[in-house]
Structure formats: C-alpha cells, structure tokens
C-alpha cells in the first residue's frame, strides 16, 4: 500500500494520490465541482449512483437539515447506464483522477448486468455496489440486511466484473460485521462504510413528514461517532481494506477513521459546506504526518487498536 508520496496508496488496485474519496451521490459526476475546484486533490471520485434504467428520483422536498446533519431522499435520480456510457463516459478522462462507478439494482440480475457493462469500461477504475440505499423501495427485497443475500449478490457481481469491487454496506444490516464478512468471502476487494442512517423529520405545521419520500438518509457530522465505531468493529473482522465515511469534515475527522482501521476515507456532505475540503484535508493530513514524524499515513491505519484496553 505504501508509496513514496506520504498520502499515496494502491487501494485494492486503484492507484490513488490521496486516501480521500469523494463520496457517491455527493459529487455528481465530478464535473459539477470540477468547474470550480481542482479535482486532483481527490484520490478517487465515486460517481453518483447509476441504475440500469433511468430513474426520475423522489418527489421534492428531498432535503431537510437536522442538527449537525441532513436528510436526503434523492431516490437515485439518474439517467441510466446507457446515457452514462454515451454521455458521461467520454468525459471522465477530464476529471484527472480515478473514478469509481457506484451502482444500484432492483435485482441480482440487474446488478450483474450493470457490472458486466462496466467491466469493459476503462475510464472506470472500480465498481462500488450500493446495497444500502435507504431511499428506494426495491420491490421489497432489501439486499443490505442479510449476510446470505449480500454474499449471493457479491458473488454474482464478482462473476461479471474483473476490476476492483467495493461493497458499500448499510447500517440497516441485521449484523453489520456478518454482512461485511459475507461480502469479503464472496470476493469483495474493499468495503465502504457507512451509508446514511434512515431518518425522518416531521413538519409540525403541516402535520406530515417533511420529505416527499417521508423518510431520508441522515449524513453529516451527526453520524460520525456511529461511523467511526462501525469502522472500528469491521476492521478486526475482515482483511480487505475499508473506506470509512460519515461526517468527515476535517483532517482530524479523517484521522479518527484511519486510526480506527480505515485505509481510505470518503467525504460527502462536507463538500456542500466547503467545496475545497479535499485540499484542506490533504494538507491537514500532511501537517499531521510531519508533526508526528511519520513518512506515510498508512502507519496510522488501525493504530488506535494498539491501546491496552482494545486487545
């Protein structure tokens, strides 16, 4: 994983200049922010979720602010994989950093088909399968909850996609660690965690749920302690690298996840507040390494486990 540059890494085959990933759904296709900011600060950009068929998404309002967090119920609005190949793919080279395609299906077959299509796409460095979107009702089957179902799903996708395969876990899982282990056994190369927590805001004046979709996914600093804990628990359970996320908004926050056991970290909501957040965090990480006299951030991965109580 080590490299001459203090923040560079090879994450399950993705060559990254920094452990920072732009979190899926929070960074569009990269171009939106690319108009304004230097995308090379990112180790990789996870694109917004793509489905087989176009999806119009949920009815508005789709956003609600909550204490130190926000709910979103976008509902995977996207133009579908065909449009992606035609319109988005040719432009991905412009981004200047590795691209992770995030996919969601309504059945195992759909996930497989999406993965098979992306297997031939050089512009995409890795596929992240979202088994966890809390804002979409996928015909009743909630893939993310059950370790056996997740195992089957990942095996199926693994059969058609040869590049780095990341599985993004849901906190809705009946047993998060078991789901992570199932994904690993079925051939996942890395795990992303956590996705948003299912939440709700009631509009008391209207006496109804505020969001058009009733519930939404909670993201932002509010969920950070839950996310750090999830990474901590997963890090001892699997051998594949973890991409930690949930409320990261500073180098200090990122370090919490790394010390807990994450090899890389993703930033979602914080982009909305500070579009230059990747630059900020990278330079904060470099400063920390200098202060602590370390050559490479990977020396910190999981280092909080060395304390006596955690053995």
């Amino acid at each position: 994983m080590k490299n001459s540059a203090p923040l560079a890494l090879d994450l399950a085959g993705i060559k990254m200049n920094s452990p920072l990933v732009a979190a899926s759904g929070c960074y569009g296709y990269g171009f939106e922010y690319g108009t304004w900011v230097d995308l090379r600060e990112w180790g990789a950009i996870a694109l917004q979720g793509t489905t087989l068929h176009p999806r119009e998404g949920n009815r508005p309002p789709r956003l609600a602010e909550t204490p130190s967090g926000m709910l979103n119920a976008v509902g995977l609005q996207n133009p579908g994989i065909k449009h992606f190949l035609q319109e988005v793919r040719p432009r991905l080279g412009e981004l200047g950093c590795p691209v992770i395609a995030n996919i969601a299906g309504e059945s195992v077959a759909e996930y497989r088909e999406l993965a098979a299509i992306l297997d031939g796409v050089d512009e995409v460095s890795a596929v992240e399968i979202n088994i966890s979107c809390p804002n979409v009702r996928l015909g009743g089957i909630s893939f993310g909850r059950d370790p056996v179902a997740v195992g089957e799903l990942v095996s199926a996708v693994r059969g058609t996609y040869r590049g780095p395969l990341i599985v993004k876990l849901s906190m809705e899982a009946s047993d998060l660690v078991a789901v992570g282990r199932a994904a690993e056994s079925a051939g996942a190369d890395a795990l992303s965690l956590i996705n948003t927590l299912k939440g709700m805001v009631i509009d008391i004046a209207a006496r109804r749920p505020f969001l058009g979709n009733l519930t939404g996914g909670l993201s932002g600093p509010a969920i950070r302690p839950v996310a750090v804990r999830a990474v901590w628990e997963m890090a001892v359970a699997v051998r594949i690298p973890l991409i930690g996320m949930g409320g990261i908004a500073s180098a200090e926050d990122a370090l919490q996840f790394i010390l807990a056991g994450a090899s890389a970290v993703a930033v979602g909501t914080a982009n909305f507040i500070d579009p230059h957040i990747a630059r900020e965090i990278n330079s904060g990480l470099r400063r920390f390494l200098e202060q602590e006299g370390l050559d490479h951030y990977s020396e910190l991965i999981g280092a909080a486990r060395d304390c006596p109580e955690s053995r």
Binding site: G28, G57, P60, L63, Q77, P221, F272
Partner: protein, 267 residues
C-alpha cells in the same frame, strides 16, 4: 458571467442594517462577486460550527462593481437567518458563488415588468437597477404585508427605481396583492414585454396565468431547499413540463430563474 475564478469568498461585512421589520441588508466588500448577474445567488455560511450545517442560499440584491461592493437582503425565516441577522459590521462572512442562471434578456429594448412578492423583490431590485443603468424601460411592482414590512420608498428612489407598491392591509399604496397591480399594468401595455417575477408560489402561478393571454414571456425565480448549490447533490429539484412529460430540474444549476410556462405548480 463565466463560471471561472474563485468560488469561495471571505467578505468583510461593512454594514448590517434592518431595512424593514425582520429584513436585513448586508453591505459587503466583495470584489470577487460583483460581476455576477441579476438572479444569481450566493451560499452564505452561518457560523463555524456544524449546527446550522448547511449554507443558506441568498440572491444577490445589488452589486456595485466600481466600489467592489455587494448587497444581500434577507428576511428572518427561521433559525439560520435569525443567526445571520446577528452578524455585525467588521466580521468576515464566508460566501460561495455566484451560482445559477439569472434573469435573461435584461439588455432588451422591450419593457421589463418586475413583479415581487415580499422579500422576493431582493433579486429583482438588482435586475431593475441594471436596466436603469442601461437606460432601458421597466416597471417595478411590489406587494407586501404592511408598510413596516417593506423597505422605505426612499430606498428604491435612491437607486432610480420607482416602485409601485401595494400592501395586504393598505398601509402603503392600495390594499391588495401585487398580481392586481400586474393586471392593471398589463392593461396599459402592449406586447412585446417581458415579465420577471419572484415571490410565493401562489403569486408566481397567478403571474403566469395573467401573462398567458398577452403572450408575454415570463421568467420566475424559484426557491428550494439546497445543499450543494452547485448541481451535484440533486437535492433541490423542482418539477417542470418538458412537452408532455414532467422532469425534475435542479433549481441551483438550471435555475433559479426558469421559463414560467414550464414550471409545474400543482402539488
């Protein structure tokens, strides 16, 4: 304007004035933002902690490119704007922008009618001032709840804007709604002209209805909850007609100003 250059701006707050009951006028030193178009907006950060978390979108109310000065005008609507109202001269504000697409065709010869409902006048004021500067004809119609809840006449006049004002209680101008004013104006005017409106949805819907028989082009500035403001999160969408179909468009990127005929109004 082209979307190049800096996105993030730290701007000195020169003045925070209560222009009407619960309306705050910020005068900012903001060289990086003064070339924005009327109808574009900024995202203001409220405080340095994580509650409130999201920025608040505010239209550019006025820009003085020569002096590098920018104005925002906002009404206290909830906790975020209540906190913003406490900012004091001398503080540095944290802004992103300018975002979005503004009012089109402001340089056309045909008269422009600006129709504002309450604080909806904020971006229209800038648009009117631009036309005024270019010596182009316009009308400025404004409705409010009561005299005290609108800026003083003098504020408009000092910028060469002759505002026609009505209030719900008749405490300034006639009693009634701004769409009544628009109806009257349209009687005395023959096309082509353009209508630009901003205010509550019910008012905007009525404006579109009134303009339709006259065949006048209407552009509306919409509001929506926003997170990124930049087109990346798909959070701020509103439904629009696209021929027979309805599609969601991002208020922050494709808007906030839209062709009134395409806006879907029913819930």
């Amino acid at each position: 304007m082209e979307q190049t250059g800096e996105l993030a701006h730290r701007c000195l707050l020169l003045e925070n004035r209560e222009l009407a009951e619960g309306w705050h006028l910020f005068e900012l030193q903001a060289e990086g933002l003064v070339h924005a178009d009327p109808g574009q907006f900024v995202q203001l950060r409220i405080g340095s902690a994580t509650d409130p978390l999201l920025r608040r979108p505010l239209s550019i109310h006025y820009a003085d490119a020569q002096r590098g000065r920018l104005r925002l005008l906002f009404q206290i609507a909830g906790s975020g704007t209540a906190l913003a109202a406490q900012f004091r001269a001398g503080e540095e504000l944290d802004l992103l922008g300018p975002f979005g697409r503004g009012f089109p065709h402001l340089d056309e010869k045909a008269p422009a009618i600006f129709v504002g409902g309450g604080i909806g006048m904020a971006p229209l004021f800038f648009a009117a001032a631009v036309r005024r500067g270019a010596g182009l004809p316009f009308k400025f119609l404004l409705g409010g709840r009561a005299d005290a809840q609108l800026p003083p006449d003098e504020y408009f006049r000092s910028h060469g804007i002759e505002a026609q004002i009505v209030t719900d209680d008749g405490s300034r101008g006639d009693r009634g709604s701004v769409t009544l004013l628009l109806e009257r104006s349209l009687e005395n005017l023959s096309p082509p002209y353009r209508i630009h409106a901003c205010g509550p949805m019910a008012m905007l819907s009525r404006v579109v209805e009134l303009a339709r028989p006259a065949g006048a082009a209407v552009h509306l500035s919409l509001e929506s909850r926003m997170a990124c403001g930049i087109g990346a999160c798909l959070g701020c969408v509103h439904p629009f007609y696209r021929g027979e179909q309805i599609e969601y468009r991002r208020v922050c990127l494709e808007g906030p100003v839209f062709d009134g005929e395409e806006v879907v109004f029913e819930k």
